[in-house]
Symmetry: C2
Subunit: 114 residues, 2 copies
């Protein structure tokens, strides 16, 4: 699992870490501030931060005894690119769903006229 996209995706595949990113999207924060919403030890949050840092999703500075974290969304661009390759597949199925619903609205029972 050494490729970067896998590292990014697995870093994102955890609700706590996504919560941390959401919090950082509202601005820089210290470890303690980031940990506050969660019912887990500071050490656990520190580990999550290490995962995010390793994935390049955050950077950590040092200000006195605090280690403020900042969001670095760059790796997400790769995720967006990758998933974008599949857009036509899900849009196509949504289209089919919409068509189906439209047929229902028009009162065409079953929509099997072809």
């Amino acid at each position: 699992m050494t490729d970067r996209l896998s590292t990014t995706l697995s870093a994102l595949a955890d609700p706590t870490r996504r919560g941390i990113l959401a919090q950082l999207a509202r601005g820089e924060a210290t470890v303690g501030e980031l940990a506050e919403p969660y019912d887990m030890s500071l050490a656990a949050v520190s580990k999550h931060l290490k995962v995010l840092e390793h994935a390049g999703l955050i950077t950590r500075g040092r200000e006195a005894q605090w280690r403020p974290c900042r969001l670095k969304a760059a790796p997400m661009a790769e995720v967006a690119d990758w998933v974008g390759e599949y857009r036509r597949f899900w849009e196509q199925s949504l289209d089919r769903l919409e068509d189906y619903l439209a047929e229902l609205q028009k009162g065409d029972p079953g929509g099997t006229k072809n």
Copy 2:
């Protein structure tokens, strides 16, 4: 880790599984066909397919002794939506990078004139 977005992301956070999805994007395939590019047992691929199915990323039919798989990209839409929320963050940093490079090109050493 019961939420759907986490399930989807962790299913995608494996290069073998992403490879399988890429193959399915080119059309329906059987387990054997999907396994062929990989240097691992059929059982291992079967497990990967179970993960993908559980994440709703594929469906499996049954035709005689074959179990053909089809891509179902719908869950990826949620990923695209989520990551899209952060677009401005990475675009902003790319902009800053571009600005910085532009400054370098213009021969403004350091770009610290403000």
